[in-house]
Structures are given as structure tokens and as C-alpha cells.
């Protein structure tokens, strides 16, 4: 094998030129970049849809869009943000960072890597194209409950099903690649319990993906059969069971929620230890906490369905199991705080986003705990309280994790420091607007505004106007983020290999030059 490699011209180690570099690349950094740009573009598309939603909800009454289009916006906003922004961004970060963090030259399965990325634009091209078809795109919510999504769906639901299948294949292939890389390509001396926490978080996430993506594929296939081939999985008139849909969907859906947050846990752990100049507190309990969260995620799914009419024992079981999740999650928060305690703390942009992550994710955790209490959930369920809850864990949670990671590793990727003043401005504008947007949602939800409403009663008007103002501010602020990223790629102060003071000891990625060589580690480093 080695003789074959050596017979190649090793004079160039750089990428191919032009478009073919991106189409045919098998390089983990190029594919990571593709994933990240893809999710960035999707963030603006999904964000534009959120702006339509907020513009309509700015005042009571129907002003800007009709309910039919409004429902397409809420549905596609959810689908794009979940499958097109958060998940690809984490895969992009995994592609960039895993080989560099474990001391490998590249991912284990580079061609598979290329395939798993290029499936995504196909999937989302199909999904978004449905919006331009005569019957309109999917309009049944991102949770697509049957029979609204089967018997009563527009015929474009078939495109939606196909696109979900493609996304699922992409995720499964990506996860296989990540697991293979982590198990086979670690530097000598890097035992499992010496792996960086981001690597751990992705190992666990990848297993979750492999476990639940086939379930999602199964449920959309059952829909496809119901719609086109006369089966009655979810059709009560044919002896089927609409509640079965929800059970299968949420058996996928709840682990999916942790798929969207675990990698952020890993990222934030690295950033907090870097800027506290103190190793992460309780490394092993951090690993066990993530593993417990992942395992528990398979036995809590019906807490999304407390109002479907379960027996008392079922309601209580899912309430208790859901409450259990607060334990490992709490342990993680305590560990982050203990890492900051007696550190030597500085407040660069990634650290600011990570501190906000810990604080605001915890608020999302509290509302999650409240939602777990079944009788109280009878009042919260399907109101804006739920919308507030999951946006708190997904925006200042998952998305802040991703933005923090971008600031933290951008100097490593590009070799240029980002503009700290602009970064801080971006943080403060984002932090304020995110709270102005999502905090009042708790109140309108408690006061009784159901979610997925294009129009609402007059007593919700003031808060909705405020929420919309916050949302527009949040949306605009992210253009600043785009500007900062482009500016950093094009210019900026030269970054040192360790980038952050003292980071050199914290992980293998900081021992490489900034930007790192095309094939990260050509000689395996030794981990002591």
C-alpha cells in the first residue's frame, strides 16, 4: 500500500482548482467547509421564513400571508432549521475537527463523506421546490402528524417524503463515517477516556443517529404507503391508528432533540476550559452524563404526547423518566460552573457565547422540567410556552454552540483572527434580541396562545409585537455574523498555532499550524 502512495507525485498537497475541488473533494476540511456553508445558507432561508411568520404575527388579523402559506412557512422553517441548519452544522464541525482532535490525517471513509454531503443539497432542493408547486409545500407542521400529513395533505407530500429519506441516508452515512474514524484513527495513546469531549459528544450523537434515522425513514415510508398504495397504517377508517404515527415519530423525535444538543455540549466544554485556563471539571462525569442522556432519550418520547389519551400508568412513567433527564443535564451545568470557579477567565467572543449558552440553555432546561409535569403540561401543551422552551434550547442552546465553535475555531481554520470588537457586538445584539424574541413567548403561552396560529386574540397583541421586533433584530444581526466570517476568511491578524493563550496543551488541533495542512496529521502524534 505504502509503495503505491509513494509513487504519486507528492509535490502538491493542495486541493484541486475550481468547482471540481468542491464537487469531487474527499478532504475532511473541504467537506467540513461545504457543510458549514450549506447550513449557513439554510440558516438564512429558514430565518427568512421565520421573518414571514413574525411579520404576519406582528398584529392580530391576517395582513401579509394567508393561513395556507403561513402553515407552509412554519413547517418548512422547522424542517430547515432542524435538518438543514443545526444537524449539517454539527456534521461540518465534526468533519473539520474530529481528525484534527484525534490526530488523524482525514476521515476514515472520504468518498462516503463526499456522498453524504452532496445528498443534502439534493434533499433540500426537492423540499424547497415544493413551495413553488401549485398545491404548495408541506403545510402540516414539522412533526407532520397523520392524518393531516397523509389523507389531508397536498400531493407534494411525496416530495417531502423523498427528501426526508435522502436526509436520513445522508445522516446515517455521515454517522458511520464518524464512528469508524473515532474507533480506528485515534493517535497512539489516546484511549477512549482521553478523547476530547467534542469527540465523545459526536461518538454518542452518531450512535443516536444510526439508531433513530431508520425509524424516521420507517414512519415516512408508512405515510407513503398510506397515501399511494392503499394501506391504512394511520387511517382510522381502514382500521389504522393515527396515534401510532406519533409514537413512531417521537421515538425518532426525542433522540433527535439530543442529536441537536450533544455536540454543542462538547463544544462549550472546550471553550469554557480554554477561557477559564483550567481543565474541564469532572471529565468522566461529563462523558457519563452525555451517555446517560443518550440512553434516557429512548424512554421519554411520549412526553410529547401527554394529551393523546394515555393510561395513567403511561403518563406517570413518561413523567418520571423525563424528570430523570434533569439529573445528567444538571450535572453538566454544575461541571461547567465548577470549571469557571477559580479559573483565570477572559471574555473573548466564543466564551461570551458559551456563557450565554450555559445560562440560557439552563432556562430552556427549567421550562423543559416544567413541561415534564403531566398535569401542568395539560395547560402548556401546544402553546407558545412550548415554542419558548424549544427555542431556548435550540437557539441559545444549539445555535449559540455552533456560533461559539465558529469563533473559537475560525482562526485555526483560516489562519486569521476575527475582529474581536465586531464579534462582541454580534454577541450582545444576538443575546439581547434572542431574549426579546423568545422570553415573552413564555407569557403568551401561559396566557393561552396556541402554537401554529396565523392569527390570535387581542390580549396577545402587545407581546406578539414585541416578539416580532426581537425576531427582526435577531435576523438582521446574523447578517453581521456573515460579514464577520467573510472578513475573517479574507483578512485579519495572523493567528498563532495555539490561537488562544495556553490552548496548546488542551488538544491536538492546537499543535497544528493555523491554517492547518491539507492532510491534517501526516505523522501520527503521540498522546501521553
Amino acid at each position: 500500500m505504502s509503495t503505491v502512495v509513494e509513487s504519486h507525485d507528492h509535490g502538491h498537497h493542495g486541493p484541486a482548482k475550481g468547482l471540481s475541488r468542491w464537487l469531487f473533494t474527499t478532504n475532511h476540511k473541504d467537506i467540513g467547509t461545504l457543510y458549514l456553508w450549506f447550513s449557513f445558507i439554510m440558516l438564512f432561508i429558514g430565518g427568512a421564513m421565520a421573518m414571514v411568520i413574525r411579520a404576519e404575527l406582528f398584529q392580530p388579523g391576517l395582513q401579509i400571508v394567508q393561513p395556507e402559506f403561513f402553515n407552509q412557512m412554519t413547517t418548512n422553517h422547522g424542517l430547515i432549521m432542524v435538518f438543514g441548519v443545526i444537524m449539517p452544522a454539527f456534521v461540518g464541525l465534526a468533519n473539520w475537527m474530529l481528525p484534527m482532535q484525534i490526530g488523524a490525517p482525514d476521515m476514515a471513509l472520504p468518498r462516503l463523506n463526499n456522498l453524504s454531503f452532496w445528498l443534502l443539497p439534493m434533499a433540500f432542493g426537492i423540499l424547497i421546490s415544493t413551495l413553488f408547486m401549485p398545491e404548495g409545500g408541506p403545510n402540516f407542521g414539522w412533526t407532520f402528524y397523520a392524518p393531516l400529513s397523509t389523507t389531508y395533505a397536498p400531493s407534494t407530500v411525496n416530495f417531502f417524503i423523498f427528501s426526508v429519506h435522502i436526509m436520513g441516508v445522508s445522516s446515517i452515512l455521515g454517522s458511520i463515517n464518524i464512528i469508524t474514524t473515532i474507533f480506528n484513527m485515534r493517535a497512539p495513546g489516546m484511549t477512549l477516556m482521553k478523547m476530547p469531549l467534542f469527540v465523545w459528544s459526536w461518538l454518542i450523537t452518531a450512535y443516536l443517529l444510526i439508531a433513530v434515522m431508520p425509524v424516521l425513514a420507517g414512519v415516512v415510508t408508512m405515510m407513503l404507503m398510506d397515501i399511494n398504495f392503499g394501506t391504512s397504517f394511520f387511517n382510522a377508517a381502514g382500521g389504522g391508528d393515527p396515534v401510532l404515527f406519533q409514537h413512531v415519530f417521537w421515538f425518532f423525535g426525542h433522540p433527535e432533540v439530543y442529536i441537536m444538543i450533544l455536540p454543542a455540549f462538547g463544544i462549550v466544554s472546550h471553550i469554557i476550559e480554554t477561557f477559564s485556563r483550567k481543565p474541564i471539571f469532572g471529565y468522566s462525569s461529563m462523558v457519563y452524563a452525555m451517555a446517560s442522556i443518550a440512553i434516557l432519550s429512548f424512554v421519554v418520547w411520549a412526553h410529547h404526547m401527554f394529551t393523546v389519551g394515555m393510561p395513567l400508568a403511561g403518563e406517570l412513567f413518561f413523567m418520571y423518566s423525563t424528570m430523570l433527564i434533569a439529573i445528567p443535564t444538571g450535572v453538566k451545568v454544575f461541571n461547567w460552573v465548577a470549571t469557571m470557579f477559580r479559573g483565570s477567565i477572559t471574555f473573548e467572543t466564543p466564551m461570551l457565547f458559551s456563557i450565554a449558552f450555559v445560562a440560557l440553555f439552563t432556562i430552556g432546561g427549567f421550562s423543559g422540567l416544567m413541561l415534564a409535569i403531566v398535569p401542568a403540561d395539560f395547560q402548556y401543551h401546544d402553546t407558545y410556552f412550548v415554542v419558548a422552551h424549544f427555542h431556548y434550547v435550540l437557539v441559545p442552546g444549539a445555535l449559540f454552540g455552533i456560533i461559539a465553535a465558529a469563533y473559537y475555531w475560525l482562526p485555526k481554520w483560516t489562519g486569521n483572527m476575527y475582529d474581536e470588537t465586531l464579534g462582541k457586538l454580534h454577541f450582545w445584539l444576538t443575546f439581547i434580541s434572542v431574549n426579546v424574541t423568545f422570553f415573552p413567548m413564555h407569557f403568551v403561552g401561559l396566557a393561552g396562545m396556541p402554537r401554529r396560529y396565523p392569527d390570535y386574540a387581542l390580549q396577545f397583541a402587545d407581546f406578539n409585537a414585541l416578539i416580532s421586533v426581537g425576531a427582526f433584530m435577531f435576523g438582521l444581526t446574523q447578517l453581521l455574523f456573515l460579514f464577520i466570517v467573510i472578513k475573517t476568511i479574507r483578512s485579519g491578524k495572523q493567528a498563532k498555532p495555539e490561537v488562544w493563550e495556553g490552548a496548546g496543551d488542551l488538544g491536538l488541533e492546537w499543535t497544528l499550524s493555523s491554517p492547518p495542512p491539507y492532510h491534517s496529521f501526516t505523522v501520527q502524534p503521540q498522546v501521553k
Binding site: P242, R277, V308, A326, V337, R342, P440
Partner: protein
Amino acid sequence: MAYIRKVFTGFILVLPLIFSSLIFSESSDYNMPIGVTDVSESIFGLHMLIFWICVVIGVIVFSIMFWSLWKYRKSKGAVAADFDDNFWLEIGWTVAATLVLVWMAVPSTQVMVEAYDDAEGEINILITGHQWKWHYEYLEDEVGFFSNLSTSQEQIDGEVPKGEFYLREVDEPLVIPTNTRVRFLITGNDVIHSWWVPDFAVKQDAIPGFINTAWTNVPEPGIFRGACTELCGIKHAFMPVVVRAVEREEFDAFIAEKVALAEEERMLTSKVWTKDELMARGESFYATNCAACHQANGQGIPPVFPSLVGSQITMFDSNKHIEILMEGVQGSAMAAFGESYSEVDIASVITYTRQAWSNGEKGDGVIVTPQDIVAYKNRIDL
């Protein structure tokens, strides 16, 4: 710069205070309504208990965190300590978290057991969710009616000012007696809906093929407003729930009137109807039940809601027309009206749509009578 920073920091600190002070007020504009039943009061109490526990935990954790951030900032010369684990601390906070959860779980279980009770009620009401209205049927007396949004389209479109109960008013509210155990049997006719009245703390999904139960016992007369809380299509936001709780005597009178009305309705079927009578009745039925989708001008919103103007069926095929009204159209939003409305209603709305918008002049203009609908039903029963 320092001044700006101070103002800015002040703003950041004050913002959460403003927000969180709102929830302390018991006004249901910001907080969960306490409601009027024992169960809703227990749930409100539970909600506030869990909320306060979360606040206390939050204050403790965030105080330690922000104090550490302030105290150990490098700009003040903090030097990092060198510890990264403490076994007993880890065990300690794991146990503490578990204990807090047990503390929460006990009252939660109690309230859950109180709220969960599917024994029969003195009054049993079948609630059926339709796209996009509720149907209420009093099972003991075998009378029922639909409850439609009564807010006008002009208010929704902003052409006239919005009323006080914008989107929270219906043409005919559900009426229940006070101080009586009322059980709701909740199901769906087409897609999944969810019937919610915050003041009773009752929220149950209305699922086709399933009958869920919920119950309430309202101590005081009053009007209670709720909503559909499961996405059910285009008019999801436009099918509110309104419940009127009245004293027992008033309730009995209401039921007696409903029973008499139903009897009268049955008599109407055998009466001979003139075209004008059918047209008048059909026009008002159309406005209440059809115009939301097919529009007042009959032109619908193609391709989702087909136009009735100049269509082959409304002009030339009265048999097909009857069949569609009676059975609905599979795989579309067109519901089967036959099960839910009287022969007179079905006949009159068919006659109306066959005459209106110059369908009558261009088509065969057939008049469909209640007897035709009875004949159709008899044919199907064979």
C-alpha cells in the same frame, strides 16, 4: 464609553427582572389562568411550585456562575487553580438533584391522579372536532349542534375594527350545568384536533377512531373561552371553544328547547318545500358552513378548494352533487355532511348552489328536496 457600558449593563440586568416580575402577578395575561375548577386550581398551584423551585435553583447556580466570572477574571489578575475533579462533589450534586426531583414528583403525581378520572359523568357530552368547527352532542338527550367561529371575515381581514372577543366567539357555545360532573368524550371526524378550555385545565386530543375522555365540574356560572390546540389545517386558528356554564334549571330548559327543535326539524323533512324556501335556507347554511372554503362567491381557492361556479357537477349532475355532500370526497378537505346535518339542510344547500352564481340559468337548475335526500339514504342503506 464607561457611561455607555454602565447604562448597557444596567439594561441587561433589568431586562430579566422586568420579564420575571410579570409572572409573579396572578393576572392571566402573563401567567397560567388559575381557572375555576378544583383541578385547574391544583394545577396552577403545582405550576407555581415547580416554577419557584426552578427559580431557586436558577438563582443559586447563576449566582455562583456570575460571581465566579466576576471574581476570577484574568483582568484582575486571577490565576487559575489546578483541580479538575472531586468525586464527592459529583456524587453530592447528583444526589441533591435527585432529591429535588422526588420533591417535585410527589405533588405532581397527586395532582395527576386527581385530574385523571374517566368514570361516567352525570352529563356526558360527545365532542367531535371537524375541519374547522366543533360538534357537541348531549348523549343522554340525543341532541347536538355545531359551534362555528362567529367573528366575521371582515374583522380578520382588518376591514372593520376587531371586537372584544375577536376569534374567541362562536355562534352557539357549549352549554353545561354548574356543580355537576360533566364528562367529555372527545373524538375527531377528519384530522386530529385538540379541545382546550384553560379555565377547566382540560386539554384532550380529538383523534379520529379514538374516544378520549376528560371531565370537569364547574362551581360558578360563566363563559369560558378556549381553542383548538392541535394543528388541523388552514383554519386551525379559527375554531375556538366557548363553554357557557349555567345553573341546572337553565340547563334543563336549554336541553328541552333543543329537544323540541330537533323534533320540529324532523317534521320539516316531510313538508313540501318551495324553491324560494330552500334557497333562503340554503343561502344561510352556505354562509355558515361552506363559504370558509368555497368562498362567498362560490369560486373557492383552486386547486385546494374547487370552484362551484359553472362546474359540471353543480350544473348537470345532481346525483353526484348529493353523493359528494353526503359522503365527502376521499383525500380532500371536503367532509361528509350527511351524518351531521338534517336532510333539509343538505337539500337546501344543494338547491342553493345549483341556482346561485348563474349556475341555475346555465345548468339544468334541478331542485333537490329533503325527500330526495331521504331517498338517497334509503338507497345506500340497501
